[in-house]
Subunit: 415 residues, 2 copies
């Protein structure tokens, strides 16, 4: 398996495009202070019908696009050909939400000559404001006309809200001698917390995989990637991951959990894990990526719980921003994780490209060089490495620091 350039267009037979249609305000946009990206409508289109898997938010408030996409995939028995997605407005908690989401599907289907239920629809942005549909009606022809096999970047920028960089990742691997590819794009960067399909993520592959096995691979991989990510503890109403497989790589269709399935799942993990890291590093206001690796655990779930507890600690996130090697904050977060283990056996180290220090052994914080700690924490990627020393399971969770900019961005998000 190797990383390759590109995103959702990396696999064979997937076109994409993104345009500015007018949902975002022209000129200054506080969700996009840098004006580095201004697309607000994106499209992905497969040359052939795709087996499709999806995971949705667990929030009881579900965006209208989530409801409509779920219904569409039920109608088609998990087949799809296109994704239509807008940013700036979440089309959630509006009386006319489903009507608008359905119209987005119809408009897209008509342009592409497919059925409305073959369209996955998604929206991201402000909740509780009516979605202006006119810009989409007016822009859809241009969006479809511009579809190309290399415009994944245009689509990836169209889903950005407070993101400062677009997030794409793609890999190439072989199944039964056939070259296969998986590509993905994701958006952050606030309202992100485990127990869901975090954020909007669209993944494509040309591998042939049955809808059932595709869903199994997605469920298992979401658990150890997106669901191990926390920016701010808030679970969005519009989270969705979709995974479309058009089979154009020509491999024998993966129908059961055999060795081909494992190869596919490893490749999918590589794409989703790297998108997860990108989301963490570009968390709202973030200046540092925090990666917590928890090993030596009795169960996988314990490992996930402890690692997530550390990346979710508001106090440790602040300490990280201040580059303060506050051992107590890490210990406290390990201690309130909802898992059973003996704290007196636990080891904790901190690490970055600039070195590694031991901070906790046998129930007590160690003395360490504050200079060395400061040097390690000056990196923009910090690892906290925990060994419970009471089992063989491990997991990684991802997060970021809590900064003035996070508060600034979210103190005035709507206007």
């Amino acid at each position: 398996m190797k990383r390759i350039q590109g995103g959702v267009c990396a696999p064979k037979g997937f076109k994409a495009n993104g345009i500015y249609c007018g949902i975002k305000k022209p000129g200054i946009d506080n969700q996009n202070p840098n004006l580095k990206h201004k697309n607000d409508l994106g499209l992905i289109f497969s040359d052939t019908l795709c087996a499709t898997a999806a995971v949705y938010t667990t929030n009881k408030v579900k965006g209208a696009p989530i409801i409509v996409t779920k219904r569409n995939l039920e109608k088609t028995a998990n087949k799809s050909r296109a994704v239509i997605v807008n940013s700036k407005n979440a089309n959630t908690c509006n009386a006319d939400g489903e009507e608008k989401a359905n119209e987005m599907c119809s408009l897209t289907a008509k342009e592409l000559g497919i059925l409305p239920e073959e369209v996955i629809v998604a929206s991201t942005g402000v909740i509780g404001q009516v979605l202006p549909i006119e810009p989409i009606r007016n822009g859809i022809s241009k969006l479809a006309a511009g579809l190309a096999y290399d415009k994944n970047g245009e689509a990836a920028t169209a889903i950005m809200t407070t993101d400062t960089v677009k997030k794409e990742y793609a890999v190439e691997f072989e199944i039964g001698g056939r070259v296969c590819r998986i590509g993905g794009m994701a958006k952050g960067s606030g309202m992100i917390h485990p127990n869901m399909a975090t954020t909007l993520n669209f993944i494509t592959t040309d591998a042939a995989v049955s809808a059932e096995m595709l869903q199994k691979a997605l469920d298992e991989t979401v658990k150890i990637t997106y669901n191990c990510l926390s920016i701010d503890g808030d679970t969005s109403t519009n989270d969705m991951v979709s995974l479309m497989a058009n089979g154009l790589a020509g491999n024998d269709e993966i129908m059961k959990a055999d060795s081909d399935f494992e190869i596919f799942k490893d490749a999918l993990y590589e794409v989703m894990m790297n998108l997860t890291r990108m989301l963490a590093k570009d968390g709202e206001g973030a200046s540092k990526l925090l990666e917590c690796i928890c090993t030596g655990c009795p169960t996988k779930d314990d490992a996930i719980t402890v690692a997530k507890s550390v990346v979710g600690s508001t106090l440790f996130k602040c300490a990280l921003f201040g580059e303060d090697a506050n051992c107590g904050r890490i210990l406290c977060a390990i201690g309130y994780a909802d898992a059973e283990f003996d704290m007196n056996a636990v080891d904790v180290d901190m690490k970055s490209e600039y070195g590694r220090i031991e901070v906790f052994r046998k129930g007590a914080c160690l003395e360490f060089s504050e200079d060395k700690a400061a040097k390690i924490l000056s990196s923009d990627e910090i690892q906290v490495i925990i060994n419970l020393n009471q089992g063989k399971e491990s997991a990684t969770a991802w997060g970021c620091d809590l900064t003035y900019d996070y508060v600034k961005i979210n103190g005035d998000y709507r206007t």
Copy 2:
């Protein structure tokens, strides 16, 4: 029942004192930038032996004082006469923690002529730094010599860390014709989150109550006061509430859950609820108190869960700081609360001294006057009022906004 002046000295027979002994750094102290309070060692002493109840942190990392206090109360079958408490250093995750906590008890007992196991010991401050015991050895005589029936304020300032104001509350009520009092003091103001006995809280009463009924009253009241408070989602290693009853009011001892018990519990609620509000309002960096009242719920636990979810939402806390009436943030937090209910029946209003607006009805955010909303949110006490319209239970949770100052305080907490 009526509120009266004072704190832990309000009930008969309780003396207190607080001094600066030298644990805090002299001069500028970043935990105490205003230098309005500089005491770091506090003492409460009852004229007679007290029935005692306590609730401790659920964090697996427990401060040494927690372990020692628990052991002391086991030895005495829940009797105590004194509380010794220091701030600035939590005496947690240190190899010599229990030894130091025990010495604090011995030093106190010797000065007061009581048994070491009749002392409740507590510490609050930085985790993982060795507690300097010399200042306590040197200061204990002065501290004990200065005990007085009106120095509750000195004790209340001795437990402050990042608190900007001291927190005391007291009430007077009657049981069987006897005048009884309950008084309390509390410290905040970070590392505060439900599922524990939040922060350090010391409560005294002259009512006669058996140790067993005292514990029952405390457990039931903690659940709906301190455990409904969240500043930052971090559960401290040193949280403790103690409740001492010396019986000097002369009422017939409360031995069972009768009407006297209910009167006592109502008074205890009044003290603990008001201390909870004070803790929320003085949360680290906070500029606003957030009170979420959730009514119309199928169960009490559902009401608590939903109310806590809203006050715990990082995004809504930022919106509150920005005085942004972001209905979507509230809805999102209600939606991810771990309780089963129908979102389409839910009503949400926002309220303050400046008025009330309806923001959500029947599954959709309402349009409202932004001017009126801005006026309401300009208050320093904001209420979010939720009616699930699917039952008769209700609960309140307390929190605060998330500000630049929170990040600043916690970016550099140790130095």
